[in-house]
Structures are given as C-alpha cells and as structure tokens.
C-alpha cells in the first residue's frame, strides 16, 4: 500500500512538472553508471554546464530559459527507451543519446513523434542523407568520415600508398563498432591494403585473445572503434604486447584522458581522432567556472572541465543551442517547438567568427547543414597522447575524408532503408 501511495505521488509529481513547463526542455540521456560511465560522465557534465551557463549568462536562449531533464540510461537500450518516453511528454526539443544502440531505437520513434535527434559523430551514418532521415542529424562528422580520415592520414604518413600494408580494426562488437567496416572494406579495395576485423564483445574487459592475434599477425596498423572500459583495456594490452603505439589509432570515442592514463607511460604515443580541438584555455571555460561551478550549479563534481569528452559535450550543447537560436530567428518566436528546432538544425551554419564570439574559437570545423546533407563536413584531426606531459597533442590540421567513396555508401544504405520502410526521399 505504501509503495502504491508513493507511486501515485511520484506519478502526479511528474504530471505537475510536465504541465508547468513553459521553457526550452532539453533532455540529457546520460550514463553515469555502468561500464561506459567513464565516457558518459564528462560528456554529460559538459552538455549540462553549457546550458546552465546560457541560463546564468544570457538568461537562456533568446530569452527563454533552458530546463535540462536528465535521465540515466546506463548505455542500456531498454532504459534508453524508458527515458525517451519519460522525457518526450515534457516537450523535449532535441535528443542526443550518446549511444549508437539507443540511437537505432530512437530513429523510428523520433521520426514518428517528430522530434529531432542529433547524433554527433555516432549513430546511423547513412542518416547524413536528410532526404531519407528528415529528423536525424549527425553533423559535423560521422563514422564513415572517421574511417576515411584515418586512412587518409595513414596514406599521407606512408608516402601516398598503403599497398601491401595490413590494417586491423579492433571493434566493439555492436552496431557502433560494426559501422566503419563497410567503408574500410571499400577503401581497402581502392588502396590495396589488407583489412582484418577483430571483434571485442561488450563490455570489452577481456581482450587477451584479440591482442594475442594481433601479436601473431603483426598488422602494420591497428584502428580501434572502442568505448568505455574497452579503450583502457585495449591501450593496456597494446602496451603489454609492445605494439608500436604510434601505429595504433583510435576513433574519436577512443581518445580521452581516462582511456590512456591507466596504462601510464605505456600509452605514450597512442593516437586518436578528434572532431573538436582541445584547448583548456578557451574563454568559455572561464565563464563556466565563474558562473556555473562557482555558483554551485556544476553538473557532476565539476572535475572534468576542459577534458576531451567534456569539451565535446559542451560542443554538442553549443550546436544544439545555436540550432535553437536559429529556429527562433526563422520562426520569430522564442518558445520553439521540436519541429521548429528541426528547421533550425537544417539551416544551421557554424562559422569561425561565430565560434570565436561564443568564446570557443576554432573548437570545431566550419560547416553548414542543408536538407540534403545532415552530415556536415566530416573533418577530423589526429591527436597523440604525451604520457609525460599528460595531455593530447594535435598532430594535424583538419583532414578531409574521401567524400566520393562515402557519399556513394551513404546513398546506397539510405536508399535501402527508404525502400524497406516505404519512404519517398524528399525535403520537409
């Protein structure tokens, strides 16, 4: 009986909170628990802190305050669905689940409910085709761009040819990890390198046999699609078998401080991609420290500020805020709806001048979104871990992917999805 009463109380609490909302509702499907919490926590901290900064400094976006509704998913699809249903009724404007598995759940649901979903550098790559996926955005870059950027970087390092080289992909055995395989197969046919796939099962704590295989086969380069605890284990194992770290490249979800620090000096020289620059001296961090953290509103414990994934979470929040501002500008109302935010995302244009104005100069590449292209520019940089200094050093400027290959793959995959689901491609 007590449980029942409490539940009724809780449920009515939800209803009251739901009806009182007249502000911009941003759900944050975060995960601060489970094997992927190491990555989920700083991202969510950055995401929330930026919106809190906007509330504290600018009074929200266009005069409307932002209300963040956090929901813990634990990187688990069932909880992700529960979180989606729980937050959707509160008037959620944009979803960023930070999980490819949950993204696959949400793509059909958000399309039916007409709420935009932004999967920055993860999720379903072919969603870059906005004519088939009008409610899904994955700018500024996607997995296939990442695979191509890696190959382009290796081409440059090897004098323009990878002929006869072997490249192994160590991947999380899930939709996330399997994404780049198709691109790498196409690129291997084009550039003549041998491509092998090595799967690591969720959560990735056990990788002895995979690295034994690498030790035996001695591939020239190892690429990695890892997340959570899998990254730390992989870096440690690579250092255990004395694999040359400079030939080991992770994608942008396998290149944060906490991925490499457990391996200590052994991780020195490990490379990874990044889609945004790391610069702890950006003016926006000073603002966050003074106006959010010092005011006691920090999300989490406030210790992650300036780290790789914190920066990316903040970058994601900035892109969402800019899209909302754009939507307010297009429709001339401050209290925007999810459909208006979608229009704002589709008209989004990020310039260097605007990023500088926001106190995060050069944080990402310049790009613009259109109805046909929801994928942005696809640029990525390569960074390297310096274990003695304890920081990431950017090795390159933004490297462009091989658009000709990727566009073909995107057209093929999104075309198949459209045929399967009876979608007539077109702009909304």
């Amino acid at each position: 009986m007590t449980l029942k009463t409490l539940t009724t109380l809780a449920l009515s609490g939800v209803l009251v909170a739901g009806t009182a909302a007249a502000d911009l509702v941003i759900p944050d499907l975060s995960y601060r628990t489970g094997p992927y919490a190491a990555g989920g926590t700083p991202f969510s901290d950055g995401y929330q802190d930026y919106f809190n900064l906007l509330n504290a400094r600018d009074g929200g976006i266009g005069g409307e305050t932002v209300r963040i509704v956090e929901c813990e998913t634990g990187y688990n699809t069932e909880k992700g669905v529960e979180c989606y249903e729980a937050t959707k009724s509160e008037g959620a404007l944009i979803y960023q689940p930070l999980s490819t598995g949950i993204t696959y759940q949400l793509i059909p649901k958000t399309t039916a409910d007409e709420i935009p979903i932004h999967t920055m550098g993860y999720g379903r790559t072919s969603a870059a085709n906005g004519e088939v996926f009008p409610w899904v955005f994955n700018y500024p870059a996607n997995y296939w761009d990442a695979a191509s950027v890696m190959v382009n970087y290796l081409l440059e390092e090897n004098g323009g040819s990878l002929d006869g080289k072997t490249i192994a992909l160590v991947y999380h055995n899930s939709a996330y990890g399997k994404e780049p395989i198709r691109t790498l197969e196409a690129l291997s046919a084009e550039h003549g390198f041998e491509f092998t796939q090595i799967a690591v099962d969720h959560p990735g704590q056990e990788q002895k046999s995979q690295w034994l295989q690498i030790r035996r086969e001695r591939p020239d380069f190892v690429l990695m699609w890892g997340w959570g605890v899998m990254n730390q284990v992989a870096v440690q194992e690579a250092s255990n078998i004395n694999f040359p770290m400079e030939n080991f490249i992770g994608n942008w979800w396998a290149g944060a401080e906490h991925d490499v620090t457990p391996a200590g000096a052994g991780a020195n020289g490990y490379k990874s991609l990044n889609m945004n620059r790391i610069d702890a001296d950006l003016p926006v961090f000073a603002d966050i420290t003074s106006m959010v953290h010092d005011a006691g509103n920090a999300a989490g414990d406030g210790s992650n500020i300036g780290s790789v994934l914190y920066t990316r979470g903040m970058y994601a929040a900035m892109l969402a805020a800019e899209a909302i501002a754009k939507a307010q500008e297009i429709h001339g109302v401050a209290d925007v709806t999810p459909a208006m935010v979608r229009d704002g995302m589709e008209a989004l244009e990020i310039t260097n001048a605007r990023m500088e104005e926001l106190g995060m100069a050069q944080i990402g590449p310049e790009f613009s979104v259109s109805c046909e292209n929801h994928g942005g520019s696809g640029l990525g940089i390569v960074q390297q871990w310096d274990a003695s200094a304890g920081n990431w050093v950017a090795l390159t400027d933004y490297i462009a992917p091989q658009d000709a290959v990727i566009d073909g793959l995107i057209a093929e995959d999104s075309g198949a999805f459209a045929a399967e689901n009876n979608i007539t491609p077109g702009c909304l």
Binding site: V81, Q105, N173, H202
Partner: protein, 358 residues
C-alpha cells in the same frame, strides 16, 4: 468471511478440479481480466506501456517459460537470454521473408522454432543435472549470441548487425514499428500473456505437469513409477522454450523494435529471468507474474521517487536502485525462501480463517 470454501458446492468433477476452487478467487480472476482488457487500454499512455506494462507482460511470459523448466521440471537453465534471441531472430527472419503473413502467426512460429532449438539444447539434460546442466545451458547462451552476431544471414546482412522490425498490421492497426498506438502494443502482449498463462497453468495441472514435478522431486523414483525421463525432460525444454521464444519475439518486434543481440539478449537477461522466478516463487504461475512485476516495476518506481519526487542526482538514484533492489531480494528470500507466491498462499490461508485466529 468473504474468502472461504464453505457454501460453494461442487457437483461435478470438473467443478471440483478447477483452477480457482474458491468463489472469491474466480470473481477476482474475472475482474482482473476485465480490467486489463476493457479498462486499461483506454487509459494507457506511451510512457506507461513502454516503461511498465510491456516489459512486465513480456518478462512474465519468459518467466512462465523458465518456471516450467526450472520450477516444475527441476532443470536449471541459464540459457533464457539465448532462447529469447532465437525467438527474436526467428520472428525477424519470418517477418522479412513473408511480409504478407500476419505478425501474430510469426510470433507463434518463432515460439515453435525456439522450442525445437530448446529441445536440441535440452538433450544433455538426460545425462547431466544440477549445476552441470546449468553450465551446459550457459554454453547455449553464449553460443547462440555468438551465432547471431557472427552469421550475417540472421540479420539480413545489415551494416550495423542490428535487426529492426518493419511495420506490420493486425486488423488494420499497426502493432510493430514506431506508429503503433500504445493500446495496440499493450493488447497484443496481453493476449499472448493470457493465452500463455492459461496453457501453462493447465499443462502443469495435467498428466504432463505431474510427470515434470515427479522428475523434479526425484528422478529415479519417477522413472520407477513409470515416468519416461526422456519425454518428461524434453517436453519441459520444448514447452519452456516455446514460451521463452514468444517472449523474445515480442520483446524484439513489439517492445524494442530494434535489437542488438549482445546487448539485449546477453547473460544478464538469463539471470534477470532466473531472479524473477526465484523471487516470484519456483513452480508457480502466479510467481512468474509476481517476480516479473517486482523486478520490472520496482526500478522504475524507485527512479520516479528518487529523481522526480526528491530531485536527487540520476547517478545516485541508479546506484541506490541496485542497493535497494538487491537488499529487497535478500530480504524476501530470507523472510520467505519460496518467493512471493508463497506469501500470497499464506495470505490466502489466513484470509480463509479470518476473522478467527484458528
């Protein structure tokens, strides 16, 4: 006073051996059915169906299935997740290969395919039992998940390795896919739960159920009195896997819509369903429902109370959830080792005597 046999005269053998011998129980049963079929569909929302009702109903089917195998026939199984995956992938392959056939038929067929697979993996039970059988079924769990990840034919060669349910209609209403109304997915699951529970209840009351229970209590004695262990054990595996397969098919097609085998049907799922029947009560159909309700709804209630009512940080609530659920499991098992079903039974015994103490 209300809850008693006195005055409820049985005049035929059928009436004497019915499931609910007490009149009050019969009325309660019909009221529950009427409310679930005629009232709840009108009030159900997307949130309620996705967060509470669908997981509860689908896990209840899985728990009924496992309860037949473990609770009634005494064969410990840790392969439930793998068998649910068989149901899900069978349903997916059937849905995509025969798009014109009704989805409900596909779900039943998926159960049938799982029954075959389950029987095959049940063969070792003729030689081994107890912990050793648990390990053998654990192998099935890992093998099946590996198989669905490895062989691209099972997921129709999709780039991501995910399977996703296309939209299918029943009587002109979508029951799979994103456009499904909340009441439709609820009713589909409810129909399957009701039929499964009826079948399971009547099977366990009949000759087959008695053979299972005889095998469970002492297999050698059962064999001596003429129970064929081959038949008893393999039928238990087949019937159990049939229900588990149906729950897997519904889990994929109606509930989640897109599934990745390693994440959704991993070893955790096997343990979760096993915990459900242990907490609910081994060898009881009601126990399957009670266990599923306990483990599905409790975390959601705790979350609602912690996050929405008290405004605590979400990670704290998630951790507290583990602590509280774990503590409650221990508490119930210490207080009542035979599960919630036994508490229910005791409550009914007390009610019969009420208001008199003896």
């Amino acid at each position: 006073m209300l809850y008693r046999e006195a005055g409820d005269y049985k005049t035929s053998y059928t009436a004497d051996s019915q499931t609910f011998p007490i009149a009050f129980d019969r009325y309660r049963y019909w009221v529950v059915l009427a409310v679930s079929f005629l009232v709840i569909p009108f009030f159900i929302t997307d949130y309620l169906v996705n967060a509470l009702f669908m997981p509860f109903l689908i896990y209840a089917i899985a728990a009924i299935g496992l309860n037949i195998l473990t609770g009634y026939a005494g064969q410990v199984s840790l392969g439930t997740g793998g068998f649910m995956a068989v149901g899900a992938y069978a349903c997916y392959k059937l849905m995509t290969a025969f798009p014109d056939v009704n989805i409900l038929i596909h779900v039943v067929l998926a159960g049938g395919i799982t029954a075959l697979v389950g029987t095959a993996f049940g063969l070792p039970s003729l030689r081994i039992k107890g912990f050793y059988l648990a390990v053998a079924t654990l192998a099935a769990q890992f093998f099946l998940v590996w198989l669905f990840n490895k062989v691209a034919w099972f997921y129709n060669y999709s780039a991501s390795g995910q399977i996703s349910a296309p939209e299918r209609m029943v009587f002109g209403v979508a029951v799979t896919g994103p456009n499904t109304p909340a009441w439709a997915s609820y009713l589909v699951c409810l129909v399957f739960v009701t039929i499964s529970a009826l079948i399971a209840r009547n099977l366990t009351r009949g000759a087959l159920g008695r053979q299972w229970m005889a095998t469970r209590d002492m297999d050698i004695a059962a064999e001596i009195i003429g129970v064929n262990p081959l038949k008893a054990k393999l039928t238990a595996f087949a019937v159990s896997s049939f229900f588990v397969g149906i729950s897997g098919a519904l889990f994929f097609a109606v509930y989640l819509g897109a599934v990745e085998v390693g994440e959704v049907f991993g070893i955790n799922k096997s343990f979760l369903v096993l915990f459900m029947i242990i907490i609910g009560g081994l060898g009881s159909i009601f126990g399957a429902f009670a266990g599923a309700a306990f483990l599905v709804t409790l975390p959601v209630f705790l979350k609602l109370i912690g996050v929405d009512l008290f405004g605590w940080p979400t990670d704290l609530v998630a951790h507290l959830q583990l602590v509280i659920v774990g503590f409650l499991i221990m508490f119930f098992l210490v207080k009542e080792p035979h599960g919630l079903a036994q508490l229910w039974r005791l409550a009914k015994e007390k009610l019969r005597l009420w208001p008199f103490p003896h």
